[in-house]
């Protein structure tokens, strides 16, 4: 409107136009390597009773489980990324995942799992379409619409499960679950997998950790996991290397500008949100058809939300998102694999990280922040020293606490698409 003459807050004085350091692949690898070394050292130092717990941190089983936990979270996050890059917040991911689990299993048990995959993706996409209609066409607040979709998706699948699956009791159906769906093929890299397993079992310093890490990534990998990894790469390519992606992202940064250049903003927003739903649906399919072989009420267990958190953590970029999803998947997997001891071992690792952070902060003369980090590190070390395991009933808290911690540390450095979560009406830009 007339009062906002120039939308140019910009050019603060003395501005250094250099970009700050972005996490490059090299830095990430360096961090991983550093962590591994630290881990190996800690393990070597730890007493005999604790060693197996430390070994568990990088066991191929743990890594494999983490990967399969990470994929649905990552797919949900990827869905969130598509939508938010086009300026639409999608908190309805959870509902779209539910649709994915339901329709994936429904079509899957009747035909074959790949048809199920397609149906689940479509189911999620329909959820996305509803969200697009509400937010883009009708301008409903994105969060409110998302919440409504979550309620609706849950209600609808529960009802349909009751109608469709209950009568199938003799082949395993019930009001809360579908009949079994066949396995989706999974792959193991022949030779490599076994070789790595052998190395891992020797518990050599550092080498075994690395072997465990890699072993988890080459053993018993579902075809759908591979598809998901391709989708991550594909997303990066499409959104950042094609004109379609440029236009789509422009709708999340400045839709009025995009409109003024002839971009059909509604169309791109619709496309993004529908794709977003489809990806979340695929995440649901993964839960239904790979992690288990059935639809199961409540199966998603809030992964849609965690996916959203992973996306924020990843700063609205696929690479960062993958790291976030990996982190959540990892901490999720912990609790399933005799987590108490492993989490206990991890306490020490986290304490080390915090201590380093504290040092850095103090060096930068940020005394309060440094003291807080240092104090936290100390508490963790004490906790580690005074106990020998973390109560199993508290282990499930790990992913949530990790999320809160990570968000608390990182949220301020994040940059979301500028027009994200803002209403947009065609022809009403200033």
């Amino acid at each position: 409107m007339s009062a906002t003459a120039t939308a140019t807050k910009s050019t603060a004085p003395g501005k250094a136009p250099k970009r700050g350091p972005r996490m490059s692949v090299a830095t990430v690898l360096l961090i991983i390597a550093g962590t591994l070394v630290a881990l190996s050292v800690l393990r070597a130092l730890a007493g005999g009773g604790q060693q197996s717990a430390f070994e568990n941190i990088t066991s191929s089983g743990q890594i494999g489980a983490a990967l399969s936990m990470a994929v649905p979270i990552g797919l949900a996050g990827l869905g969130g990324l598509w939508a938010e890059r086009a300026g639409v917040v999608n908190i309805g991911l959870e509902g779209m995942m539910i649709l994915g689990t339901f329709f994936g299993a429904w079509a899957g048990y009747q035909t074959n799992p790949w048809v199920g995959v397609l149906a689940g993706v479509l189911g999620g996409a329909v959820g996305g379409l509803v969200h697009a209609i509400a937010t883009v066409t009708f301008g409903v607040d994105h969060i409110i619409s998302g919440v409504a979709i979550n309620i609706l998706a849950l209600g609808a699948t529960t009802y349909l499960a009751k109608r469709w699956f209950e009568p199938l009791s003799d082949i395993g159906g019930s009001p809360k679950q579908s009949p079994q769906v066949d396995d989706i093929a999974s792959f193991t890299v022949p030779g490599l997998s076994d070789g790595l397993a052998t190395v891992e079992n020797h518990h050599w310093f550092l080498v075994s950790d690395l072997a465990g890490l890699l072993g988890g990534l080459v053993t018993d990998i579902s075809a759908l996991t591979i598809v998901s990894i391709l989708l991550f790469a594909g997303t990066f390519f499409v959104l950042w290397k094609t004109s379609f992606g440029l236009r789509l992202r422009s709708c999340g940064e400045n839709p009025t500008a995009a409109e003024s250049l002839g971009v059909n903003v509604y169309l791109y927003k619709y496309a993004a949100v529908v794709i977003s739903g489809g990806l979340a649906g695929l995440g649901g399919v993964f839960l239904a058809l790979v992690r288990s072989h059935i639809y199961n009420e409540g199966q998603t267990g809030g992964r849609g939300y965690i996916g959203l958190a992973a996306m924020l953590f990843g700063n609205w970029r696929p690479g960062g998102l993958a790291m976030g999803a990996g982190l959540f998947g990892y901490s999720d997997a912990l609790q399933l694999r005799n987590g108490g001891a492993t989490v206990h071992a991890l306490l020490l690792l986290v304490a080390l990280g915090l201590a380093l952070l504290a040092g850095w902060r103090l060096y930068r003369k940020r005394y309060v922040a440094g003291a807080v980090c240092g104090g936290a590190a100390l508490v963790l070390v004490l906790w580690y020293a005074l106990t020998d395991t973390v109560a199993n009933d508290l282990v499930p808290a790990t992913p949530y606490i990790v999320t809160l911690l990570v968000m608390g540390l990182a949220a301020q450095r994040l940059r979301m698409p500028k027009a994200n979560n803002k209403p947009y009406r065609k022809g009403q830009g200033t």
Partner: protein, 373 residues
């Protein structure tokens, strides 16, 4: 300005009605598509819903839902999405039950104490999200969702035989110590052999009045609403937005603390693992439906209670009670769309009227205006 007001009232009523009608039609379609007679189903729900014992049930349910709606609405009024009401009220009810079970004071002292503990715990839990938002910029949507899960884990860690609860070997139920009977809240007899109405409905009504008064009649409420309408304008007007976020998170959490109280003080008198869950989410739907307005929320809470009562009956009559879930989802979605449409229409109407009236004024006072300029 009476003309405007009348139209505004009309629009305010039109939106939910429109949405409800649309929702019922859509649900009817779903029912018909899955081979069930829709209108018969609605008939069953209605017949059953107006029975005396159903009304007691609905009022008692609505009491809880009303508080949940209020708790959510406090946040919504200032554009704060407290998705965490769910975790807040459960944690609050749990600790209130623990404290209540451990003490044996006169009811007049102990009941307020229990309520206070609940509100404090709810507020503290909510404040975590508030602090994270204010100081670390963490979206409250994400943090409250995480906190919901954490509160569940915390409760189940503590709700264990030997920690803060006891196991009844006969019934297999693990529960906190029951409240002494002096701490049972009064009930309102409903006549006949009907169950009584929860006395806590009085507290809920007071909470509603308090909500209205605080938001509509105090400086604080004005500031809070100002933040909801425009954070930047509120800040420029002198509202400390950060503090406001914290305060309203605390208020919302405190109100959330009340949600479990009708159940605890009027009904179960102890906390068990199947203490009602998910009411925080129901509260979101109810706040949306009631438009964050204390009267609207009351109507929405009653509607929700009615639907659930009807669901119980539908099953008995051979329908799938799950259809009510569809109905609820469709209602919420229709309602949010209808409100947005009506809001937009209302704004446009008003601009049109302002334009028209000004044009008329201008024509009348053509000459006077020239002098004035």
């Amino acid at each position: 300005m009476k003309k405007f007001d009348k139209e505004r009232v009309l629009l305010a009523v039109a939106a939910p009605l429109l949405a409800l009608v649309a929702a019922f039609l859509l649900t009817a379609l779903v029912l018909a598509a899955t081979g069930k007679a829709p209108f018969n189903a609605f008939g069953i729900m209605f017949d059953y819903g107006v029975k005396a014992d159903s009304q007691v049930y609905i009022l008692n349910k609505a009491t809880t839902y009303y508080l949940a709606g209020l708790a959510v609405a406090i946040g919504f009024r200032m554009n704060l999405f407290n998705i965490g009401v769910d975790g807040q009220y459960r944690l609050a009810a749990f600790f209130a039950a623990v404290v209540g079970g451990a003490l044996e004071l006169p009811g007049l002292v102990q009941i307020p104490l229990i309520i206070l503990v609940a509100m404090l715990v709810g507020a503290m839990w909510a404040s975590i999200a508030g602090l994270l938002k204010v100081y670390r910029g963490v979206s409250e949507v994400i943090s409250t969702i995480m906190l919901n899960s954490l509160s569940g884990i915390l409760i189940s860690y503590l709700l264990v035989d030997g920690r803060l609860a006891d196991l009844d070997k006969q019934t297999n139920i693990v529960a906190t110590d029951p409240l002494p009977s002096s701490s049972h809240f009064f009930t309102i007899p409903a006549g006949g052999d009907l169950d009584p109405v929860f006395g806590f409905i009085v507290v809920a009504a007071l909470a509603g009045v308090g909500f209205w008064f605080l938001l509509g009649r105090t400086r604080f409420g004005f500031d809070l609403r100002a933040v909801g309408r425009s954070e930047s304008a509120a800040q420029a007007s002198g509202v400390d937005v950060k503090r406001m976020v914290l305060t309203s998170m605390l208020l919302s959490g405190g109100m959330a603390g009340l949600i479990g109280m009708p159940t605890l003080l009027n009904d179960t008198h102890q906390f068990t693992s199947d203490f009602p869950a998910g009411i925080g989410f129901t509260g979101i739907a109810i706040a949306l439906l009631g438009r964050n307005n204390p009267v609207g929320i009351a109507l929405a809470a009653v509607l929700w209670g009615f639907l659930e009562r009807g669901a119980n009956r539908l099953e008995f009559e051979g329908y799938d009670k799950e259809i009510v879930g569809v109905m609820q989802g469709v209602i919420v979605l229709c309602v949010v769309i209808a409100y947005e449409l009506v809001r937009r229409y209302g704004l446009k109407r008003q601009q049109q009227r302002v334009g028209a009236e000004l044009a008329a004024q201008a024509r009348k006072s053509e000459k006077k205006k020239e002098v004035a300029v």
